[in-house]
């Protein structure tokens, strides 16, 4: 097993840093519009927003290659965007339109494009972890050099699937990265009501895997830790567990009354909002001007509005298509 130096500085040139910021803003903008669209009754189903947690998806996927794999969760829009999914087909999927990534069959909890290396968003807490480990196994067997990263929440670390998968990945030194998005809550229950030990990186020691505490509100910290984990993975040194501390600024799902937490706590975390701190930092460090940042925001907004237009104007799938694509080989 390797020792991973998480504090290792990674070389991030200006362009790379702006890319990280852009990805985060893409997620923030997307999710914010989804929130209003849902409130307006435009979007069917359940919606779990990623607002506040953008640095994780952006940092992890920023460090992955296009050909690497991820598995995602019920709170998966951010992962999709960071892994290269386009607004228009994502939005269309949320509307249940035929132009969506899943032809309307998946919806918010299941948007995914396996072709983009997203092996699926999951409505079953913890269930994506063994699948991610399987992709890592496949990569090892094929000698392809690909890495697989699974995103999952703090709550998911109470699920047996997480443990079985971690043990297997460590046992076989698979090129796997487990990414805990510790947003302090599983639904309406706080971390300490669900986990006997709240320092979740402890759970890595059971498998002799580096358990790395990451500032999930700092995209560069996430990027650096992921880069180190990926290097180890590709070098054949096996998996890592990144425990990214973060916070969801919105409810568990849209409609959540948030009776279980108070404004002070939320405001405390909002001060660390990566979409506040990171642009400030880049501007301060002269990487970006205020005007350039505004342009980025506007550009993204424009793309987003176009995507919403695309989704709205797309057709619903033909009802009969409900019976298609269950199998590759029909009898």
């Amino acid at each position: 097993m390797s020792e991973i130096d998480t504090r290792k500085r990674v070389d991030l040139d200006d362009e790379a840093r702006i890319d990280l910021l852009r990805t985060m803003q893409r997620i923030r903008a997307f999710e914010s519009r989804v929130q209003t669209l849902f409130a307006d009754g435009e979007l069917p189903g359940f919606v779990h927003l990623y607002i506040g947690e953008e640095a994780i998806a952006a940092g992890v996927c920023g460090a992955l290659e296009e050909s690497d794999y991820i598995t995602s969760t019920h709170r998966g829009h951010g992962h999709c965007i960071a892994k290269g999914h386009e607004f228009d087909r994502m939005m269309a999927e949320l509307y249940g339109k035929e132009t969506g990534y899943c032809g309307g069959k998946g919806g918010s909890m299941h948007i995914a494009s396996p072709k983009l290396g997203n092996l699926g968003a999951n409505g079953i807490v913890g269930a994506g972890v063994p699948i991610g480990v399987g992709a890592a196994l496949s990569s090892q067997l094929r000698g392809s050099g690909q890495v697989a990263a699974s995103f999952f929440g703090d709550g998911a670390t109470a699920q047996g699937a997480f443990h079985e998968a971690m043990n297997l990945s460590a046992l076989w030194d698979l090129p796997f990265v487990g990414v805990v998005e510790n947003n302090q809550y599983g639904e309406m229950s706080a971390l300490e009501e669900q986990q006997a030990v709240t320092d979740l990186s402890e759970r890595a020691t059971s498998y002799g895997v580096p358990g790395i505490d990451v500032d999930g509100m700092d995209v560069e910290d996430v990027y650096a830790a992921t880069t180190a984990a990926i290097e180890a993975a590709r070098a054949g040194d096996g998996p890592s567990l990144l425990v990214c501390d973060t916070y969801r600024f919105e409810g568990h799902h849209e409609g959540d009354t948030e009776f279980y937490r108070d404004d002070d706590e939320i405001n405390e975390w909002r001060r660390r909002d990566p979409l506040k701190t990171y642009p400030e930092r880049l501007i301060e460090e002269g990487v970006l001007t205020n005007a350039e940042w505004n342009d980025i925001v506007d550009e993204i907004d424009a793309e987003l509005e176009a995507a919403i237009e695309f989704a709205r104007e797309s057709d619903y799938p033909e009802p009969e298509s409900a019976y298609e694509n269950l199998y590759a080989e029909e009898v």
């Binding site: 249940g96 069959k105 918010s108 279980y260 409900a322």
Partner: protein
């Protein structure tokens, strides 16, 4: 049957469930409730709201650990408690399936009856919420296929009260399938400690020409269909099985022997669905009275798609029932 009911009141399924749990918690210290966010949020769809404040010790939020939720419920049930555990969506039953299949359902038998297992598992089927394939499922057919656990399904407020109470007081494991689509349905419920008998079906509407056997959302559709068909002078008898395992074959087959025609409507996929089980026992019991084969309505063997028009496509509705009955009548 516990106490005789005196009069009725009109409440929703949601209210009936909350009330019954509150009453049973109040009545018997051995009863406790556990599940994800049951205490704070009141469990799935907020059904149990406030119960956690009433009984802070005995309404317990668990981690997201269905194997532990069900398994620890079983251990508690074997040692003097009467747990009511919640699996939020029936689509999550795959997670604790071994505990259900091999532990809950088999431990009494394997010990030759040396221990009772008064465990209630509450869960709910979902359709019509665009919640997609994993959250939108009807899965009682899987549980019907497991000897050792009784399966009841809640369609009406009276069921909610009568079946849930019966399950809690029952000395065997019972899984109660609620349905998100009927929580807000209102109906008459006997007041007092009303209890349905496990193993007893109900005739929800009497009729002469065709028997429709239906559960949950489809029971309400069937009643609506019957109403519409009455205008066409087709008299439909609507039967609610209530208990799916054990099944009240006598009541159901009795109706079919009378009408000679039968439609079974449920939301399970057709292959291996509850419809096949019902059709089979009905056919065995009423073969020589049947004018046509029992007709099955259900999901044509796909998962539930997200998109509204797709989801609508795959589930039976009132029109489908009307059309099918018309073909028989």
């Amino acid at each position: 049957m516990a106490e005789a009911a005196t009069g009725t009141e009109s409440i929703t399924v949601r209210e009936a469930i909350r009330e019954t749990l509150s009453e049973e918690l109040g009545r018997d210290e051995r009863v406790f409730v556990q599940g994800i966010d049951v205490a704070s949020r009141g469990g799935t769809f907020g059904l149990l709201e406030g119960l956690g404040e009433e009984y802070p010790e005995r309404v317990r939020n668990t981690p997201i650990s269905e194997v532990a939720i069900v398994g620890s419920g079983l251990g508690a049930a074997m040692t003097g408690m009467r747990p009511v555990v919640e699996v939020m969506y029936s689509g999550f039953l795959g997670v604790p399936m071994d505990q259900i299949l091999n532990q809950v359902a088999k431990l009494r038998y394997m010990t030759d009856g040396n221990v009772d297992i008064p465990l209630t598992i509450r869960t709910q089927n979902t359709s019509g919420f665009n919640a997609a394939a994993q959250h939108s499922q009807a899965l009682h057919q899987l549980l019907m296929a497991i000897p050792g656990i009784k399966v009841v399904c809640v369609s009406t407020p009276a069921d909610a009260k009568g079946l849930l109470r019966a399950a809690i007081r029952h000395d065997d494991p019972v899984i109660v399938f609620e349905h998100a689509g009927v929580y807000n349905r209102e109906g008459e419920v006997p007041v007092g400690e009303y209890e349905h008998r496990i193993g007893e079906a109900g005739i929800e509407r009497e009729g002469e020409d065709v028997t429709v056997v239906a559960t949950q959302v489809q029971l309400w559709n069937a009643l609506e269909a019957a109403e519409r068909l009455a205008e066409e002078d087709v008299s439909v008898e609507v039967v609610s099985p209530r208990t799916l395992d054990p099944l009240d074959v006598e009541t159901i087959a009795g109706s079919v022997r009378k009408t000679g025609r039968c439609v079974v409507v449920d939301e399970t996929p057709l292959c291996g669905g509850s419809q096949s089980e019902l059709a089979t026992v009905i056919t065995e019991e009423a073969f020589f009275d049947l004018d046509f084969p029992v007709q099955r309505l259900g999901v044509d063997d796909v998962p539930t798609p997200f998109s509204p028009p797709l989801e609508e496509e795959i589930y039976p509705d009132t029109d489908d029932i009307v059309t099918t009955v018309r073909q028989l009548a």
